[in-house]
Amino acid sequence: MYKKAALICLPKQDLHRPPGALAILASACKEQKIDYEVFDFNLWLHNNTAEHQWNEINDNWESVDPFKQKNTLWYKLFLEKLSLFVDQILATAPDLISISVFSDLSACPCMEMVTMLNQRVQRESFKIVIGGTGIRAKLPSFASDLCLELLTTKSIDYFIFGEGEIAYRRLLQGQTGQGINDYDAEQIDDLNQFPFPNYEKIDPKNYKFIVQPEIVVTGSRGCVRKCTYCDVARYWPKYRYRTGQKIAEEMLHYWQTVNVNHFEFSDSLINGSLKQFMEMNQTLVELKQQYLGFDPQYKGQFICRDNKSMKERDYINMAEAGCKYLYVGVESFSNQIRWDMDKKFNNEDLDWHLKMCGKYGIKNSFLMLVGYPTEHLDDHKKNIQWLHENQHYAQSGVISLIVFGYTAGILEDTPLFHMQDQLGIVSEYADGNEFWANNWVSVNNPQLTLKERIRRWVELTDVATSLGYLMPRNEHYIKRFINILKTVKHKKRSFPIQASHV
């Protein structure tokens, strides 16, 4: 049994709201009656560096191999700050240091923090556990997954793969077992069984919120869709959801306890279970009437559905319940490509969705995937044509943002990864490990080279910009593309490529 836990979050993460993992871990500690302190290094680093330094550090986590930049000024500054932060953590004398590794982009900061912790004289007085989806990141500088690398070298004591609620509670009690130091994670069937995440030691007001402080809410885990490019099923094979009633009650609880009215869902899809989604909206509308001042506003990832599944009445309820902003994985405006991706909606459904969102004041951020393996030039032209035809939705703000991402990558354990033979996918460059997921070309669609995918990305961002579509700051994408193109100049193709369209 541990006496004091240090709960830590790392870059790279959104700064708008407290990371949900901290509050989930805090809730487990509270339940097990273990003292804890919360340390958000991401937020601390932001608050303790100049803006240009922060931007440089933050952008570089997305570079191909951040470890290769150890001698740069930004990396040295990062290590300097990290050292100061580690001092702060150890000053609280924890006997369990729990590090949340949110995504692959947190892998390098995790490696550095763990290294630094191991160099401290107090090392024998605490154990280190890491968890989160980023623990299986494959860093180019290492042979195996981050967690295996760290465990093998005894730099950490434990890793927790998959959902941490059960395994972390077990660890707090001084036990080990399934889901600890193995990939045999125990899936939680009933997401309603745990107490609400705890914000007693986390102040949402300290974060860089847009309008009002926000809190992350989880309504479901896993996904009802099996989009070919997505690796969500790797972490959460089975789709589980909470009742709409419970989710609405949790939001009310945050308003009552920490005075927060704005929420962001962590769900892969907030409308994965339509029944629960509608129940949540209905309950929120009722709670708003019961509790004066409870005026929730929420954002979340959403799947487009046809007008029979999502009727106008459902959009009215969403708006009345406080739905303000949706992230929609549109990926492509070509029906064929979306079909190939197994997205299960078409442009007609998208038109319906935009019409309803326009009418009821719900804004959208469109997430796009440029250069899917089956994307031909005609599909690319359909993307451009759609942007022209729907310009008014960008100008009116119904499409608030459009994000073109890094171009299509083939992630491990995704359906696409297992379809490589079927799609004739081979490595484009013999020695292209630095840009792993992007180093591919399909022999069935040989014109879609890495360079051509970047060219299409540039063309789409140019067209979108000229038409008034807005994008989040995309400097990191451009820098990465420049880096890739400079690197491949000196690399040998492993596959003969036809002339591109440039």
Binding site: E51, G358, K359, S396, K451, T461
Partner: protein, 193 residues
């Protein structure tokens, strides 16, 4: 200015009565319908097809007696509130519209005297107010083509009210901000790889 392209504007108004309901005249108004009625408060949906680049709402029929006071407490008041506004069935950002529009108050004698006695300044032209307590004219002038103009107004509004960091991360920016980097990227793309 280009020729005016017809568009449909929809207003959702909430009106409340004192002894009487307010009188509202809206330019180029086609249809209005009461969509809810609680006795003292009604919601009205008004559809207009403006023939020029403005929408004007004249609100009248209020005198001092329309603020019903019992034992020193206001029991009811005759008001008009703009709750929502749509152009071509797309809901506009109400705060932005209210910032652009103006309401020219026609104060009641009672109110003028009340302010004079207490040295309260009276602004006869007001933006931002979405509830009109006095008679007057609410006017919103826009430009054509509407949506590009609206997008520019929205950008200006956000630049005024949000921080640069928030705009870059959340509201979005234009790729023009990264012209140098994009130039390098284009050059690399033009070279044979």
């Amino acid at each position: 200015m280009q020729g005016y392209a017809p568009m449909q504007i929809k207003l959702l108004l909430e009106i409340s009565r004192g002894h009487n309901w307010p009188t509202i005249l809206i330019s180029d108004c086609d249809i209005s319908e009461i969509i809810s009625d609680t006795g003292d408060v009604r919601e009205i949906l008004v559809r207009c097809c403006p023939t020029k680049n403005e929408i004007k709402l004249v609100r009248s029929n209020k005198d001092g007696s329309e603020t019903v006071v019992v034992n020193g407490q206001i029991l009811r008041d005759q008001t008009v509130t703009l709750k929502k506004i749509w152009v071509d069935d797309i809901l506009l950002d109400l705060d932005l519209v209210l910032e652009m529009a103006v309401f020219r108050n026609e104060f009641t004698d009672d109110y003028i005297n009340y302010c004079a006695e207490r040295s309260v300044e009276m602004a006869s032209v007001e933006s931002h107010w979405h509830t009109w307590y006095f008679n007057g004219i609410w006017q919103w002038t826009f430009d054509e083509p509407f949506w590009p103009w609206y997008a520019r107004q929205k950008r200006d509004y956000q630049n005024k009210h949000l921080s640069k960091e928030h705009i870059e991360l959340y509201v979005g920016t234009s790729a023009k901000n990264h012209q140098d980097l994009m130039h390098t990227l284009r050059e690399l793309l033009q070279n044979d790889v």
